[in-house]
Amino acid sequence: MIHLYPKKEFDLPLIAECINPDVFQNETCEKIEQLKIWEGNSQKKLGELFKVEENQTASQPEKTAITIYGDMSKVRKIGACMQNGEIMIQGNVGMHLGEEMKGGKITVHGDAGGWAGSMMKGGVIEIHGNASDYLGAPYRGSSEGMRGGKIIIHGNVGSETGAHIQNGMIKIYGSAGQFAGFRMRKGIIYVQNDCGGRAGACMTEGTIIVGGLLESVLPTFSIEGVRKKAKIEEDEVVESPFYLFLGDLTESGKGRLYVAKEKNPHLRIYERLL
């Protein structure tokens, strides 16, 4: 198990793709210290910025587990493209956490910046604080969103959560900003609390479940009926009446938008159509 401690408070943005269990594996501490990290426009060695400690335990004999202690909110691309192993961050973390991740697990005991789990293909990201915008969304111009894996957020998230998601699951136990599941193609997004407007805009398939207040439903969704419960995964079902909307009509979509009935009295006007 490798422990990293930042040696200072970072002001400049850092690009640290090398903080990745796949890279650390089979390397000595000395080699890890030599890895390159960009700080602003200069290239530094990991050892210049972080104190590196190795801690061999029986359960984690190899360097496939990394724990980082401290504020990493300026550090980007941690765990990008990782396939195996585990990263734990005790503190906040910067943008592009676990970008294009294929496997393994990242846990953050703090907040995460934008594009966490961007273009993710597999593995798990769990964030105990909040996450910013574009959670699980693709890079600019791309429609290749999240393809698999699971993202769990215990706090709130920004806007455009799960844009272009093609598969996989995003669970948010707090609230979400607007445009959750924008241009969603498949997969599941669950928002336990409130959700900003325009959820599911331009979605073609997939499911969005909103357990709290949904500011407004887009006019291009049509009401399908009222359902008693909504299933998130095999062992997680929310029992409470939901309005079920289908959309988005603009894309001739068949996406399913569940909105908790009790929390959304303003949607009662749709009942006349049932």
């Binding site: 693709p138 890079y139 600019r140 111009g141 791309s142 290749e144």
Partner: protein
Amino acid sequence: MELLVKNGFVYDPLNGIDGEKMDIAVKDGKIVEKVNERKAKKIDASGMLVMPGGVDIHSHIAGSKVNSGRLLRPEDHFKDFEPKTPITRSGVGYSVPSTFTTGYRYARMGYTTVMDPAMAPLEAKHTHEEFNDIPIIDKASYPLLGDWWFVLEYLREGRIEECARYVAWMITSTKGYAIKLVNPGGLETWGFGHNVRGLDDQVPYFCITPREIIRGLCKVNKLLNLPHTIHVHTNNLGKPGNYVTAVETMKCVEDLALENKPAIHITHCQFCAFKGDDWRTLESGSEDIANYVNGHSHATMDMGQVIFADTTTMTADGPFQFALYELSGNKWVNHDVETETSGGIVPFHYRRKSYVHAVQWSIGLELALLIRDPWKIFMTTDHPNGGPFIAYPKIIAWLMSRKARGATLKKVNPRARSRSLLPSIDRELGFCEIAIMTRAGQAKALGLKDKGHLGIGADADIAIYNVNPETTDPSRKYKSVRRAFKQAANTIKDGKIVVNDGEILKHVGGATMWLDVQTLEPIKITEEMKRKFKEYWTVEYENYPVTEHYLEVSRPITVKADV
């Protein structure tokens, strides 16, 4: 500076040199008889190929359309980048590379001259501004004139000579090099969202047909004595059954050809060699086209080879691009240019397993192999429409080796494989034929007297490739050939060594070539023209031409016209 390239196997088809072991002497940027061997810098090319620098007759590398393509596709760039070095500028690549990267990547493959085939005259300054930022290679551009209102109106009235004068004015004002026609008549029709369906379909409001436009501009081309022929992107491009249109297009100027000289260049022919009624019944029309071309001497063409990759299609053919959007559902850019032309962009992924794409791949190679005379068909991908230009070495391997073709054929859609003509074609090109298709033939078709050969007085643009023709059988060892053409051992531009083993040694600015077309009487700007200008365009007449300010390295070529 003097330079001596020693002991290479020289392939210089225009001068009849076919793999002879000899030295090439260079002085002040030109090929010379000999240099002082003691003073000259020597390059040891023993065991290597020495060829003139590569010439690309058709590659979209600059201008408003290309730049819209760049803007459209951040996801295409972000994993393919080139960091700054003490010598080179940084940039991004893949299907629509940034300007600096474009220059470097061409130079690394031993290319030194590239023609951008589509310049909207109104936006010509943009093309030239980008040319200034494309290092090393020499460039030129073809203004799009097939749907220009002046052309349509004067040709309709049969006023060929006046039309020719306006075309001369336009080529000189836009600092262009040749007359480009794209889906003639179709682009004006696209102004209201429609298209023409064939050579004899009328262009709405203009009472003229594509046939009349093509013939008219072919005559204009002759009257002006332009070095290249008309450069034609046919009607019905990208539609099943369009090989008929391609053959008819060549036929329609048959009688205008003189003394066996080419009169027309059909560009990216693969895209207009489709047989069949729809996409399901699509077949190759390459045999019909090859038969026609083999029997006639007035047409040249380029392949427009498809590469299995994610690329960005861009043409001035607005309606074609819209059809491609409808087919693929990908993002779509349209850009119509007032009184002149249009344009469109759609990202496109050619997949091995797709029947249509695999047939297209096969058609390009069939054409190149079935047309017997390599001086008639040139190697292009219509970059980036069939695929990015960095794939040229792959095509060279396919052309030189049956085995290479077989290896790819094995992996493509089975139905397309079973219908492909490739297994029945034994022809394998030699280095001399490759030299023709990638430089000598292209330079000849373009009328570039100082390019594409290594004779005395030619520009000292030389490519050296690390493959030994005596010991390497390209048919079997196609992979080493591919590797050699991917990274030139040396590229020499204007007598300067700019590339060594694929590494850029110098950032030099390439020249912009353009035609200074001199009519018998200097072109007068009549009141009528000024009036029309005000009516037709939204810019002032004074602000329209591209001034020399826009050409950092200007290389005018004077042409004396017959009108």
